[in-house]
């Protein structure tokens, strides 16, 4: 039965892979033949209007998604969250930096609160559907460069213009490159934020990602994040931490998240010898698939930032110029604009219970700097909760500015070429004042730096099964799960009293027989001597 089931699972898997990879080739429209796409286009909005002349509902669909709103409501607390207002430990916050950060918004022109979220022409179709040569340049609020543009002004560095007609004629499905253009580079650089998402996934070997391997299954992001009406499932902000169901069958009506491992593999995917007595499948009642199948993250040669200390920022070289220090591998460890970094590669995750929902600190949350590192986010969930599993996470450690009077974390303005942003002036009070004006927060003028933590779920870079985390990685006294509550891990958790008393009894018995035999020997030879 199990064999049959697993055979069916594989057939479905293979079927859906063929179906998905067949789609691109089987498209019935060649966009290069569309008259409306021949241009000329002056701006991105012109292209969008051309797209919408056929894809009439596309912009409305996009506008309903977080890709557009950068906003969502925490269903448990009712708090308004989302990129728009949220804080992090990396570049800290979007507000007051919109023109820079929002080059990753799928819209054109969001540079301040006046952005019109209802204007369909502002939706950037090309951000996700280009097939190359399209760059939303940093600092241009989501626009590509339409002409040769010096940025920052006076820097002598230029953005080359994008050929909108060519890009429009060559549109296609989303790709690793289009998703990755933003999702690989969160936090201001390749691999900085996630740890399991970086540009190495554009052309990964099987060892790095068994699904995306270009020499293997060659999945695109959308093969798992199966998108319907522009709604991309599978977000770190609201995850499906446990999915205790079989695989989704083609045609099956379901509200389930199609991006989970179980959506394809089912929740009992291991074929086990009778010596294992279904033990691996039983592990799925406690562990996320990712806990064993992603042995470490940042495995593709791109380091991820494990630590970022803003308090070190602003040190200039002997000539009064900002500097960049790199380690022997060429990875940046210090940048005057940003501070010092701890880079990590092949990082073994931290493990913790996670029910899929995340608790975020708010810009107005009162913190207690004396009580240890401030947790910018927390994963909810605990042992025994049917929705929770033990997940691998990246534990990031930051140090960032806070208001010592109001006891709130502060958002600095960093990235805009003006006379307040930190990267251009190295003046914290100005940068924090400008940031506070952006967020609408009170700023007393008094600030210091506080240690913070942030956690990121690890779910990409799934290794081939033969490289899964070995049993003894956890089932040992100093195993990976030390400190995770609510579980008994054989090999790690033997009762200390039984250990001690048992060893005492065993060595007591050994000592007893040794003494006994010693007396026998002595008495024996004495008897002979007589």
């Amino acid at each position: 039965m199990r064999l049959l089931k697993s055979f069916a699972t594989r057939a479905i898997l293979l079927g859906s892979i063929l179906l998905v990879t067949g789609l691109a080739a089987a498209a019935t429209a060649d966009h290069s033949k569309f008259e409306v796409l021949q241009g000329p286009f002056e701006t991105g909005e012109d292209v969008t209007r051309a797209c919408l002349s056929c894809h009439t509902e596309a912009a409305k669909q996009v506008m309903g998604t977080r890709h557009w709103t950068w906003e969502y409501e925490d269903p448990q607390t009712g708090e308004k969250l989302g990129k728009k207002t949220m804080l992090n430990g990396f570049c800290i916050g979007d507000r007051s930096n919109e023109a820079f950060c929002n080059s990753c918004h799928i819209g054109y022109g969001w540079e301040d609160d006046s952005f019109d979220f209802t204007n369909e022409a502002k939706v950037d179709c090309l951000a996700c559907h280009n097939t190359g040569d399209y760059v939303k340049a940093r600092g241009l609020a989501g626009h590509p460069a339409y002409e040769r543009t010096e940025y920052p002004p006076g820097s002598g560095r230029f953005y080359n213009p994008v050929d909108l007609v060519s890009v429009a004629l060559n549109v296609g499905p989303t790709s690793r490159e289009t998703c990755g253009a933003c999702h690989y580079y969160g936090g201001g650089g390749d691999g900085v934020k996630h740890g399991d998402l970086d540009s190495s996934l554009n052309n990964p070997h099987r060892d790095l990602d068994v699904h995306m391997a270009t020499d293997g299954l060659n999945f695109a992001c959308s093969d798992c994040h199966q998108t319907d009406k522009h709604v991309v499932p599978g977000s770190r902000i609201q995850m499906t931490a446990a999915d205790p169901h079989g695989p989704l069958v083609r045609g099956q009506q379901s509200d389930r998240n199609p991006a989970t491992c179980q959506a394809c593999h089912g929740d009992k995917p291991h074929q086990e010898s009778f010596l294992h007595a279904e033990r691996l499948n039983q592990h799925t009642n406690t562990l996320a698939c990712q806990s064993c199948h992603i042995p470490s993250f940042a495995r593709g040669g791109v380091p991820t930032k494990m630590g970022w200390d803003w308090s070190e920022a602003g040190r200039l070289d002997d000539n009064g110029k900002p500097m960049i220090v790199k380690d022997e591998k060429g990875h940046i460890t210090y940048d005057s604009r940003k501070g010092s970094f701890v880079n990590g590669e092949h990082v073994v995750p931290v493990y913790q219970w996670f029910d899929g929902s995340v608790d975020y600190i708010q810009p107005d949350t009162i913190i207690d700097p004396a009580a240890g590192p401030v947790a910018i986010n927390r994963f909810r969930g605990q042992a025994g909760d049917p929705k929770a599993r033990i997940w691998p996470v990246k534990l990031f450690q930051g140090k960032q500015p806070y208001d010592t009077v109001h006891k709130t974390l502060l958002v600095p303005q960093v990235a805009l070429p003006n006379d307040t942003a930190f990267w251009f002036n190295f003046d914290w009070p100005k940068a924090l004042q400008a940031g506070a004006e952006g967020t609408g927060q009170a700023f007393s003028g008094e600030f210091d730096f506080v240690s913070t933590t942030m956690i990121w779920p690890i779910t990409h870079m799934v290794a081939p099964k033969e490289q899964a985390v070995g049993c003894n990685e956890c089932h040992r006294r100093d195993g990976r799960l030390v400190g995770v509550e609510g579980i008994y891990v054989p090999g790690q958790d033997a009762n200390p009293w039984v250990r001690m008393l048992g060893l005492l009894a065993l060595f007591g018995a050994l000592a007893g027989v040794l003494i006994h035999s010693a007396i026998r020997v002595v008495v024996h030879y004495r008897g002979k001597a007589k």
């Binding site: 010596l275 033990r279 040992r476 008994y488 958790d493 033997a494 026998r520």
Partner: protein
């Protein structure tokens, strides 16, 4: 301590010896793998250790199935009926008389090859250590099926693993003492030899009638 060999008796039959030695090997192996599973050291690696431990458990269960059958068809099970008769003399022997070179107060016969102290030890093994190990071990082995059978509602893995470890230590202590006591025969290897060949040499040590009263 070696008197004249007056008599040779065939105490341990061929199946019994096969049972004893294969069981001994398996129990030793299960202790080696089991204490690794419990996290005392690393040798095979956890996964291998569990697999080998499980495989050996099934082999031992099979051996026991045959052995129980053998015990009852041959009537040998009676050898394990406990008695307290003259247990004091035997205890005194191991605690004192043995050092003085006095003979063992119990005389082994084909019908009664275990002395009362042995019988008590085996009773403890059969009635306490074995059930602790086997019951906890089988629950441990089939942990994956607990939710299906509703067992997870009232039983915790931690209790099962702890009980199993307690049993394992009892077995280990038994093992140490048992092996040591094999050296207390007429010569250091006399008992082991008879467990291998099946033949026990009865010696005429001091010919005290007291010690022969049972034959």
């Amino acid at each position: 301590m070696s008197g004249h060999t007056v008599e040779k008796i065939y105490v341990f039959k061929r199946y019994e010896r096969f049972w004893h030695w294969s069981q001994a090997a398996m129990i030793i192996f299960m202790m080696i793998t089991g204490f690794e599973v419990a996290g005392f050291y690393e040798n095979f690696g956890f996964q291998r250790a569990v697999e080998l431990h499980t495989l050996t458990a099934w082999a031992l269960i099979t051996l026991w199935a045959f052995t129980i059958f053998w015990q009852f068809t041959t009537g040998e099970w009676r050898q394990y009926i406990p008695t307290l008769k003259r247990i004091d003399a035997i205890a005194r022997y191991y605690a004192w008389d043995i050092f003085k070179g006095l003979p063992h107060p119990y005389k082994k016969t084909v019908l009664q090859k275990h002395n009362p102290l042995q019988r008590l030890a085996y009773l403890a093994l059969l009635a306490m250590v074995s059930p602790i190990i086997w019951v906890s071990g089988l629950f441990y082995l089939f942990y994956a099926y607990w939710p299906e059978w509703g067992i997870d509602q009232w039983l915790r893995l931690e209790w099962v693993a702890t009980a199993h470890l307690v049993g394992a230590f009892m077995m280990a202590v038994f093992f140490v003492v048992h092996v040591y006591l094999t050296t207390t025969g007429h010569s250091v290897f006399a008992h082991i030899k008879s467990m291998i060949t099946g033949w026990e040499e009865l010696h005429d040590d001091h010919a005290k009638p007291v010690s022969r009263s049972k034959s």
